[in-house]
């Protein structure tokens, strides 16, 4: 498995003509990303600051050779947008949209299953950035990132920035940062990202940020125990979260006594992961993990 994004990544933006789509497409282009097309049904033939807009993803791919999609489509139409991108044959779909109904995502995932060449990141995520290649598909502030050796994977956006800030301050920098999103049904999961980091020559250490709800962290812990040879530090958000309440993210909920931070921390520690007790100690904990 190679890197998911590099200098050959040609990005089309679904929802380019919207406020957020435009803002982040241009910020991505300023950073160095090749943003080659936009897609908004009904606005084909226009352009946004020189980026041509098409009516369909198929057309955008055919005309511009785009091979990745960054999606800002509003929730009711977002799953449809994901399927359109997958059908048009892009290799990577990064869905930023928050608030997609669960049933829509179940449908989209069934659709993606028949197209194994397509990777979905998100939804409800900040996206992916690779500082060494100056490529980003997402909404993260580029300037806090520094090229370096730490792979970061997280269910949360701003908490990822916190980890980025701390690893930048320590001079470690980042290889690739991947936000997998805060929804209960998502595309890329922790194990996918960890597999990438395990094989990626740029990545020497890993930060994994989880939160309450579901069992993705426990599954990742089992994978790490068996497969991971690089040091891993972690933080799990939501130790103080009350059960039965959704903490902002649709997926961040302790239900039926399951999905607590304590369970996740225990599973990760048992797998040899260094878990920070405080979000302010992510960088420090990573240094300890690296030192062994």
């Amino acid at each position: 498995m190679g890197a998911w994004i590099d200098t050959n990544t040609r990005v089309l933006v679904q929802g380019l003509t919207g406020r957020e789509g435009k803002f982040h497409a241009l910020a991505g282009r300023d950073y160095g990303t090749k943003v080659v097309a936009g897609v908004t049904p009904g606005k084909g033939g226009t352009d946004v600051e020189g980026i041509p807009v098409f009516n369909t993803v198929h057309e955008a791919v055919r005309e511009t050779g785009a091979n990745a999609s960054l999606l800002f489509v509003p929730p009711p139409a977002a799953a449809d947008g994901i399927m359109e991108a997958a059908d048009a044959g892009v290799a990577l779909v990064v869905a930023i949209t928050e608030g997609i109904p669960v049933n829509d995502m179940i449908r989209a995932k069934a659709f993606l299953k028949e197209r194994p060449g397509v990777r979905l990141i998100g939804p409800n995520c900040p996206g992916i950035i690779r500082p060494s290649a100056k490529v980003k598909l997402g909404i993260m502030p580029a300037r806090i990132h520094k090229p370096g050796k730490v792979g970061i994977v997280s269910r949360s956006g701003t908490l990822t920035y916190e980890a980025v800030g701390q690893t930048s301050a320590l001079g470690l920098g980042q290889s690739t940062c991947i936000g997998i999103g805060g929804d209960p049904i998502n595309g890329t999961n922790f194990i996918d990202a960890l597999t990438l980091f395990a094989e990626d020559p740029e990545t020497e250490a890993v930060v994994m940020i989880g939160e309450i709800g579901g069992s993705a962290e426990e599954e990742a812990a089992a994978w790490i125990r068996k497969n991971m040879r690089k040091p891993v530090a972690s933080f799990i958000a939501g130790r103080t979260a009350p059960p039965g309440r959704r903490m902002g993210h649709a997926g961040a909920i302790i239900s039926g006594g399951k999905g607590t931070a304590a369970e996740k921390v225990a599973a990760l520690r048992a797998a040899g992961v260094h878990v920070a007790d405080s979000p302010a100690l992510i960088g420090e904990t990573l240094m300890k993990a690296i030192a062994g």
Binding site: P101, T158, H249
Partner: protein, 388 residues
């Protein structure tokens, strides 16, 4: 979103799920009338969102219409306290008056999302009337799990399998199969996140009936279910949370005394965690979101400060999309308007951080600046005092 039992039963009935005969009312007089229609004997059930109503005294059997009147009079208006309501309890506005059937057996049914496999899963157990978590804790093998495809629905063979596993035979088995299929269909088509029948009653006559029903719905899908959306009962929610939802703010009230305002759900949870790590207790979860404007920030601050337990506020912003100057302006406006007298610690990082800090400084307000999360948490705990 949660709904009341009587609303869940209304939804389920439309899909062909059998429920007891009966109606909801807010009047004792009507309760008497309903009991009369049901033949005299009736169960009077308090309608609040919390579980544990029976143990709290909110579910009673009436042996006559007059007794139904008395019980309804007693229950309507009471502050019902259960293990899920907190000590202050919940005010009962309505009762469901239903026929009192002869119960032969109580079973459990529930459908929810299995996140690990990304499919709905039907759970069934012979231990009806008990909380499923408790059953799972005592004996996980007592819960049968049958995942099904959301698009094709629960298939008859799956329903048969589950019904046999529950020990149902003969006519009762034949009645259980369409019941299960209807329940699964209702779950998928209404975008539910939970459909729970606990207990599922097998009557003395062998009928399969939903004695109780609980449904929760995917908030993100409510836009396509206008009828269900109208079932929202604001009285069942915390008033501050209702107020926050008007401004699209993600606010959850907690029991501590350190209010917090954060951007991003993960960072907001982590901020609660670090407050506790530093020796304090968070008063709330509050995510102002990625693209909040000044007005939202101002309202967020107002809502935090209207919680009487709050003795200090920690504002923790790592601006990505969110600009620090917008946060700063909103905070300054809110504090000036409300006249905040408690300590406020502000940690700003990211987009337009210098502008944000300048706005706070020139405002003349006594906000305490902090560098990083650790510093911020320690400063607010020092200002509020530990263990309060």
């Amino acid at each position: 979103m949660k709904v009341h039992e009587y609303q869940a039963k209304e939804i389920l009935r439309a899909y062909g799920v059998a429920t007891p005969r009966g109606r909801v009312t807010d009047s004792p007089e009507e309760a008497r009338q309903i009991a009369k229609e049901l033949g005299g004997r009736a169960v009077v059930k308090a309608q609040i969102h919390a579980g544990g109503r029976g143990k709290g005294g909110g579910v009673k059997l009436a042996k006559s219409p007059d007794e139904a009147f008395e019980l309804a009079k007693q229950i309507i208006g009471m502050q019902l306290v259960t293990h899920q309501t907190g000590p202050e309890g919940r005010k009962v506005k309505k009762v469901l008056v239903e026929e009192a059937a002869q119960i032969a057996q109580e079973l459990y049914l529930g459908i929810t999302l299995d996140r690990a496999i990304g499919k709905p899963v039907l759970m069934a157990s012979r231990f009806g009337g008990m909380e499923i978590e408790e059953v799972a804790h005592r004996d996980p093998s007592a819960i049968l799990k049958e995942p099904f495809d959301a698009q094709t629905g629960l298939q008859p063979f799956q329903a048969r399998k589950v019904a046999y596993a529950l020990g149902l035979t003969g006519d009762t088995h034949k009645k259980a199969v369409p019941f299960l299929i209807a329940l699964a269909k209702a779950y998928v088509e209404t975008d539910a996140s939970l459909a729970e029948i606990n207990p599922l009653m097998i009557t003395a006559q062998g009928d399969v009936v939903a004695l109780d029903a609980k449904m929760n719905f995917d908030d993100n899908a409510l836009y396509r279910h206008s009828t269900i959306k109208e079932y929202r009962d604001l009285d069942e929610e915390d008033p501050l949370e209702v107020e926050a939802s008007k401004f699209s703010l993600n606010y959850i009230k907690l029991d501590g005394n350190v209010g917090c305002m954060v951007n991003g759900a993960g960072l907001a949870m982590a901020t609660m965690d670090i407050i506790q790590y530093a020796g304090g207790m968070p008063a709330n979860f509050l995510d102002v979101g990625g693209g909040a404007n000044e007005e939202q920030v101002q309202n967020a601050m107002r809502i935090i400060l209207s919680d009487r337990n709050v003795k200090g506020v920690l504002i923790n912003i790592f601006g990505g999309i969110m600009r620090c100057d917008i946060i700063a302006t909103g905070v300054v406006h809110a504090v000036k308007e409300i006249g905040c007298t408690i300590p406020v610690v502000v940690r700003l990082e990211g987009t337009n951080v210098e502008e944000g800090k300048a706005i706070l400084k020139s405002s003349g307000l006594a906000v305490i600046p902090a560098d990083g999360m650790k510093d911020a948490a320690e400063k607010i705990i020092a200002a509020v005092g530990k263990g309060n």
